[in-house]
């Protein structure tokens, strides 16, 4: 391992790998990337792979819209099929209040060039003929939303970065960050120390622990989210089905399995990633209520991962005021994979030029001190 680098990236998920990729593409390759497990072993490799632009808050909509445009070209760019499939997201509402909320969201999304549309439940049957619309008040559909296979994205980045000469270390753990006089001096790992003045904190649910090593306090909290995959089938379900009412989401991946989860509002903050029978029962109950034919579908496996949740459900991006060498790339609150292409491009712009093509200042850590917080409402779980 090199003992000196201009930038040390902590975290080998899409946040760290994507930033490394955009930096290397611009000729910035003096990077060492450290990953504690295997690449994508945190939230990236555990997520459902959904890519949605239907947010309630303008900034998230723009980041997601730009990211979709990048996902569309990613297989070609990384010379790796990332299993990207644009079957849309179908959001189901149960109450009149939720329907009104969807209508407002669609209006905002349309004003930002996202082609979502509000519809009656009966119209949703054209998109998913197996849907049981009883009890639904409305739906919203955006045809350019979709899914991708997180592991293929990780492989695309890892293989490309190795060819570009960026040093990547998996199975390597960061043990400390040495700070002197408000400047980062060194990253200490179990495989050796790296002298550096700049660290990208892309450690997902462990980001607050990494920041703490550098004496910086963060409000991020880890939450377990469980997920499952069913047996493989021929394509029959075009969109991702999602409901903020029941907290469920599921879609069919490009290799045919249904992948889905359901949020648990009572889940306490913790680092546990074990699986529960209770989750399977809750998912099954809600899934078969929406699509009764899924009764005859078999669950193959279940697992869990950690959401890295911030108080406003929006990411924390950019430098820390009191320690500018520490750059945050975390707090995605369950939406990291879907917005990572644009977010990591912006972070690379910041690292190279000190400025970004879309302002990331509103997502700086300092917002939790100044109180300038805008809540994202469209969150599962």
């Amino acid at each position: 391992m090199r003992d000196r680098a201009k930038l040390v990236i902590i975290g080998g998920g899409v946040s760290g790998l994507g930033t490394a990729y955009h930096l290397a593409k611009s000729g910035f390759t003096d990077i060492v990337l450290i990953e504690r497990g295997y690449f994508g072993s945190g939230a990236t490799g555990r997520c459902g792979g959904g890519i949605r632009q239907q947010f309630s808050e303008e900034y998230n909509i723009i980041l997601a819209r730009e990211s979709v445009r990048m996902f569309e070209k990613m297989s070609e760019e990384l010379n790796q099929d990332i299993g990207f499939r644009q079957g849309g997201y179908l959001i189901l509402a149960h109450t009149e209040e939720e329907a009104e909320h969807l209508r407002e969201n669609v209006r905002l999304q349309n004003s930002l060039d996202v082609p979502s549309r509000y519809m009656d439940p009966s119209e949703a049957l054209d998109i998913v003929p197996h849907l049981n619309i009883e009890g639904l008040s409305a739906a919203a559909y955006c045809p350019t939303d979709g899914v991708s296979q997180p592991f293929l994205v990780v492989k695309g980045y890892v293989d490309t970065l190795k060819k570009m000469g960026v040093e990547l270390h998996d199975h390597t753990e960061v043990k400390g960050i040495k700070v002197e006089n408000g400047e980062i001096k060194k990253v200490i790992t179990d495989k050796g120390d790296i002298e550096t003045n700049m660290v990208l904190n892309a450690a997902g649910a462990w980001s607050a622990k990494i920041a703490e090593m550098a004496g910086v306090e963060m409000p991020n909290k880890p939450y377990r989210h469980e997920i499952l995959a069913t047996e493989h089938m021929k394509p029959w379900l075009r969109p991702m089905i999602i409901s903020f009412h029941t907290g469920i989401y599921f879609s069919q991946s490009h290799d045919g399995e249904i992948v889905g989860g359901i949020g648990d509002p009572d889940e306490p903050s913790s680092f546990r990633i074990d699986s529960s029978l209770e989750f399977l029962e809750r998912f099954a109950s809600v899934a078969v209520r929406y699509i009764p034919v899924m009764k005859k579908l078999k669950v193959l496996r279940q697992w869990a991962g950690l959401y890295d949740v911030t108080p406003d459900a929006r990411p924390i991006l950019g430098p820390v005021d009191e320690l500018p060498g520490l750059i945050q790339a975390n707090g995605y609150s369950g939406h990291g994979f879907m917005i990572h292409p644009m977010v990591t491009k912006l972070l690379a712009e910041y690292i190279i030029d000190g400025k970004t093509s879309i302002d990331i200042e509103p997502l700086n850590l300092r917002r939790f001190k100044t109180g300038e917080i805008i809540q994202e409402a469209n969150v599962v779980g």
């Binding site: 492989k155 109950s285 899934a287 209520r289 009764k295």
Partner: protein, 89 residues
């Protein structure tokens, strides 16, 4: 040279050796890169065979190759066996 290792997901010995050549040498990464063990048997048939192949190709002891994290359920089960009649909202 070539033979089927994972019958569910159609992963061959050659697929494993290609992944190793690309630098993926632990079983968790190889599972995700090749699809090994992600079908109906969830690796019960193929993973022990794959570990042997990976160990020989990399010179690692089989223990160092590791084992995939076993995921519940033990056998595939129908959603209707899990679903409640009354959906709690």
């Amino acid at each position: 040279m070539t033979g089927i290792v994972c019958r569910c997901m159609d992963v061959t010995k050659e697929d494993l050796l290609n992944a190793i050549e690309e630098g993926y040498t632990d079983i968790e990464s190889i599972k995700r890169v090749t699809g090994l063990g992600r079908g109906p048997c969830q690796g019960k048939t193929c993973v022990p065979i794959a570990i042997g192949i990976i160990a020989r190709a990399t010179g690692k002891h089989p223990d160092e190759v590791g084992y995939i994290t076993p995921r519940p359920p033990t056998k595939p089960i129908f959603l209707e066996q899990l679903a409640d009649e009354e959906v709690k909202e």
